[in-house]
């Protein structure tokens, strides 16, 4: 039982709603970083940013009550960390990341349905 139940309930409700509303923008940022990764001029730092953004979503989603977001972001993160981000990814690797991104986008969209 929380020490301050009403403070907890109201507080959690408020930050959960803020987080929920921010999810589409977070996903759009993640997608944008991915889209801007150019195979002909690979930016390993940008790919590191991409991985970091997925890590943040994976770590925070569940704590805000959006476990499917955490799960989908975690799957994407695990795969992104398994490839060699220092060099341009293969077509197969890119396709897999796009697949995981789409899955993540789907669960993000679900959070917006009320």
């Amino acid at each position: 039982m929380p020490k301050n139940p009403s403070e907890y309930t109201e507080g959690l409700g408020a930050i959960q709603e803020q987080y929920r509303q921010s999810l589409p923008e977070r996903f759009q940022e993640l997608s944008r970083v991915w889209r801007e990764l150019d195979a002909s001029k690979w930016d390993a730092s940008a790919f590191h940013t991409f991985v970091r953004l997925t890590h943040r979503l994976a770590g925070s989603g569940g704590s805000y009550g959006f476990a499917p977001v955490s799960e989908a972001a975690h799957r994407l993160e695990v795969y992104a960390r398994s490839v060699d981000g220092a060099h341009a990814l293969s077509s197969a690797e890119c396709a897999q990341i796009v697949k995981y991104l789409k899955q993540l986008g789907k669960v993000v969209n679900e959070t917006q349905k009320r």
Partner: protein
């Protein structure tokens, strides 16, 4: 009898995690919480805040959690303060490693804000 856990220093760069952790620790746990967004800030703040326990994120930009941990151990003000790491999806071998280097325990992310304070209390009581 061991004194109850009261003061926690939260070291976490992610503002989303900061917000929900602060709510959990203060409103659920009733703890007094100091918040730092980086390892250097933690090293600067730990002496003045005098926490009972430090909750330390592993993956932080710049000075990461492990480096921050070593630096806290080297400071007289924080050398003996128990540290609990916070990290995503910790595996059993990682948990063993963190404990080998001297961490008290590890909390996995994402955490449940309703139960995380009790988990920290249990870790404190076992020490």
């Amino acid at each position: 009898m061991k004194k109850p856990l009261q003061r926690i220093l939260l070291v976490e760069d992610d503002t989303d995690i900061q917000a929900v952790a602060l709510l959990a620790l203060e409103a659920v746990g009733g703890f007094t919480v100091g918040v730092c967004s980086s390892g250097p800030e933690a090293l600067d703040k730990v002496g003045g805040f005098a926490p009972d326990l430090i909750l330390l994120d592993v993956m932080m930009p710049g000075m990461d959690g492990l480096t921050t941990f070593q630096a806290l151990r080297a400071l007289p003000a924080s050398a003996d303060i128990p540290v609990v790491f916070m990290t995503a999806r910790v595996q059993a071998n990682e948990l063993a490693h963190y404990k080998e280097i001297g961490a008290r325990d590890v909390i996995s992310k994402p955490f449940d804000p309703m139960t995380m304070p009790a988990a920290l209390r249990a870790i404190w009581e076992q020490g």
